[in-house]
């Protein structure tokens, strides 16, 4: 690890806004050659905006980018590629129906003449070797590879394009432990070869294993880069969370009602061990966990979306274990996924039709819609969720991310729900709309609604919940009243196991005492 490499990439005073939303504000970022720079921050802090800037997908409103001492503009993806910046895609850009070798050289223009299997395989061999895939036959089809192997092949492909800067955006989010080790080894190999890596991650343990320095983003601003050797997990968590939670989150419930949703010994795909949970009237339960932790699996199983292999779910004493989605909705259970564009809103329909979409039977008689009843229903929902009624006729797709999220969550009020299940209630939502969503949810809970949400945003879980449950890799780690759990404890619960279970812990030894 070259601690004193020369400055390779220097970004200064970068600002970028989307409409009213300031995604990046006066951000600076520095990368030396041969180093791994961890890029950390909560959801919406601006990490992905920075990655998009570097990959040429967007241009900054102001600020300068210097590469190898020369000022650069990375206006287009091809310009970024030509500058030697390579993004290892979260959604992989390999063609599954071609072989590994074919993928490695697809579009590179380096291999002229006939693409015979043998010739390509020979050319592919050295590239695969550098990423530790010595055993992989280049003539295998990409569709037969595991997620980890895909990522390594993708890195090999980018090596073939002579990339200098590799951006790995949450590379380990979907990987098994063994594959994580392989990816980490390759990252080290890359830096040993003088390449630089920007490593975006939510798993703090990985920072200590792999990174030389860390840059932390908070609400669109950057903190100065810190050598990892000067950090401890405590100081890192402190830096990550350092903001005023006071105004962001409403006060917790004064008192809770009777048990409303009772989950007993629930097993479902995504959970490694059965879990039990009781949510009371007026309670907000926060399930904290990273992607793949099993937190959202619980919600999906209750809603009848994913299979419940064993256990029971009772709503006000009624068994709803076997209820499908329509049945659950009719019983008063609403569910909002973490991807509003995928299955949360109808982008090309009006806000009014969106807000009423889950409750068509509430404004129709024998199949006939009543426009006036629909309007009043949508109006009620809008006023309950602090939504500007003048926007009811606009298309949902034309709203800001925050307002779209308010539509996706708020539409469930139309069914007069007893229980609301929400995944990532504020993903991709700016700070202002976040606070509003939190306030709305708390108001609804105070009126008796039970809310269970899953989130990878620790501050959100702690700030919004009455009860916190932490999840790691399919296991329920801890259940505590939100007032009694510390930020650090939560952060450790949802990330620390990745450190202790990974054999390459050479940089830090976190104690396992939890």
């Amino acid at each position: 690890m070259t601690e004193t490499g020369v400055s390779l990439l220097d970004m200064k005073n970068i600002s970028k806004s989307y409409g009213h939303v300031q995604a990046l504000q006066d951000v600076s970022f520095n990368l030396r050659s041969g180093e791994v720079m961890a890029l950390l921050g909560e959801n919406g802090a601006g990490k992905s905006t920075l990655v998009k800037l570097l990959s040429g997908l967007i241009t900054p409103d102001s600020g300068s980018i210097t590469l190898n001492g020369e000022p650069r503009t990375l206006g287009t993806p091809s310009a970024a590629r030509a500058a030697g910046i390579a993004v290892v895609q979260q959604e992989f850009s390999l063609v599954p129906t071609l072989t590994i070798a074919e993928n490695l050289f697809l579009g590179s223009g380096d291999v002229r003449g006939l693409w015979t299997g043998k010739r390509l395989a020979n050319l592919a061999r050295p590239l695969l070797d550098t990423v530790g895939l010595e055993d992989l036959d280049p003539r295998r089809f990409v569709s037969s590879l595991s997620v980890g192997e895909l990522q390594l092949v993708e890195i090999a492909r980018l090596m073939g394009r002579n990339a200098e800067i590799f951006i790995l955006d949450e590379p380990t989010a979907a990987l098994s432990d063994v594959e994580i080790v392989r990816v980490m080894q390759v990252v080290k190999r890359l830096t040993a070869m003088g390449r630089s890596v920007i490593y975006v991650t939510h798993r703090l343990g990985e920072v200590f294993q792999i990174a030389d320095r860390a840059t932390i983003f908070r609400n669109g601003r950057s903190l100065d880069p810190v050598p990892v050797s000067e950090l401890t997990i405590d100081t890192l968590v402190e830096r990550l969370l350092g903001r005023h939670l006071g105004e962001m989150y409403p006060p917790r419930a004064a008192s809770l009602g009777a048990p409303r949703l009772e989950i007993k010994d629930l097993s479902t795909p995504g959970l490694s061990a059965p879990i039990s949970l009781t949510a009371r009237q007026g309670e907000i339960v926060g399930l904290a966990g990273q992607m793949g932790s099993g937190a959202s699996s619980v919600l999906r199983s209750v809603m009848g979306i994913s299979f419940t292999s064993s256990g029971t779910v009772h709503l006000d004493g009624t068994d709803i274990t076997k209820a499908n989605r329509q049945k659950a909705i009719s019983m008063g259970v609403g569910y909002c996924s973490d991807d509003r564009k995928f299955d949360g809103i109808f982008q090309l329909q009006s806000v009014m039709k969106n807000l009423s979409s889950a409750a068509i039977n509430r404004f129709s008689t024998a199949g006939w819609l009543s426009n006036s009843r629909e309007r009043s229903l949508a109006g009620q929902v809008a006023s309950k969720f602090a939504f500007d009624e003048s926007r009811l006729p606009s298309n949902a797709g034309n709203l800001s991310g925050g307002n779209q999220q308010k539509v996706a969550v708020g539409k469930w009020l139309a069914i007069s729900p007893k229980v609301l299940l929400v995944e990532e209630p504020t993903r991709g939502v700016d700070v202002g709309a976040r606070a509003e969503i939190y306030r709305n949810l708390r108001t609804l809970a105070d009126e008796g609604l039970t809310i269970i949400f899953a989130s990878s945003d620790m501050a959100e879980v702690k700030g919004l919940s009455d009860t916190v449950m932490t999840f790691y890799r399919g296991h329920l780690i801890r259940v505590l009243p939100a007032g009694e759990i510390t930020d650090q404890q939560m952060m450790l619960d949802v990330t620390h196991a990745s450190v202790s279970s990974t054999p390459t812990t050479d940089a830090v030894n976190l104690s396992d005492e939890v």
């Binding site: 909705i329 109808f346 129709s364 199949g367 819609l369």
Partner: protein, 325 residues
Amino acid sequence: MSTIVETAAKPRLVMSRAKAFNVALAVGVVVVLIVSGLTQPEFLSADNLVATVRAAALIGIAAVGMTFITLTGNFVSLSTEQTAVITAILCAMALGAGWPMWAAVVVPLAVAMVIGALQGIFVALGLNSIITTLGAGAAIFGIANVITNSKTIQARVPDPMWLGTARPLGIPIQVWIFVVLVLITMVVLRKTSFGRTVKMIGSNSNTARSSGLRITRAVVASFIIASVFAGICGVLLVAQVNQAKTLNFTGFNIDVVAAVLVGGTAIQGGEGSTLRTALGAIVIAMLTNYMLLAQYEYGTRLIITGFVVGGAVIAFNWVRGKSSS
């Protein structure tokens, strides 16, 4: 993080878009009418106009039915002409066998309903609609050839049937049926929970599912509507010409799809109206009729129709892109 700034002008723009589409289509109809009238005087003759609106009515009825499939986001049905053919043949056979008219109409339409329901079920189960209807169309056409031995079936009705030749208020009965079906479907799409469901599925089937909408039911019903409306075209043809053969509706699929697309129904679903489809059918029928009068070759007619459809789809997409970005 794709954040779009909303402006006060947006809602009005969205509201006016549907109107703009309607106006554009009406203008299209008038332009074709004027140009055709000026260059081919016989285009405006009473006989020719009657023939044109009859053709427009048949294309239009099938297209209005197909609009439901398109709105659910299941593209189009490629078994429309085959369904019309088999219904026509069954109707002619029934009449030839001496069945009363009502039975000779209702039974073939019931068959069309079953044909539609089967395709709808397959599509609702996840099969691609193009493949499903293409396969169904081939099978249906095969059956039609087998049961007719590829011969023309005579209905042998002594007097011309009113269902084919009546002209209340001087307007052909087919046009009346067309107009009534357009009005009914407009009401269904706007005023019923089924119509709402159809549009919501087409807008985003995943959101529709997560909102608890009854997707299977709506998709199957849409295929039934499309199929029965195609069947109505078959019955109307028999009533008019007193016979049926397998080649009666050759090229009908393309005309019907063209009408839906020229009508500006979004091919990805969720947006469109049967009124606009109806106007699209009139444009296609007039265009075809004009080109026949002007004695264009078959190939030339296809080329021009193709360009009109392509141009319309591009124009509508452009307008949509403008107002939704």
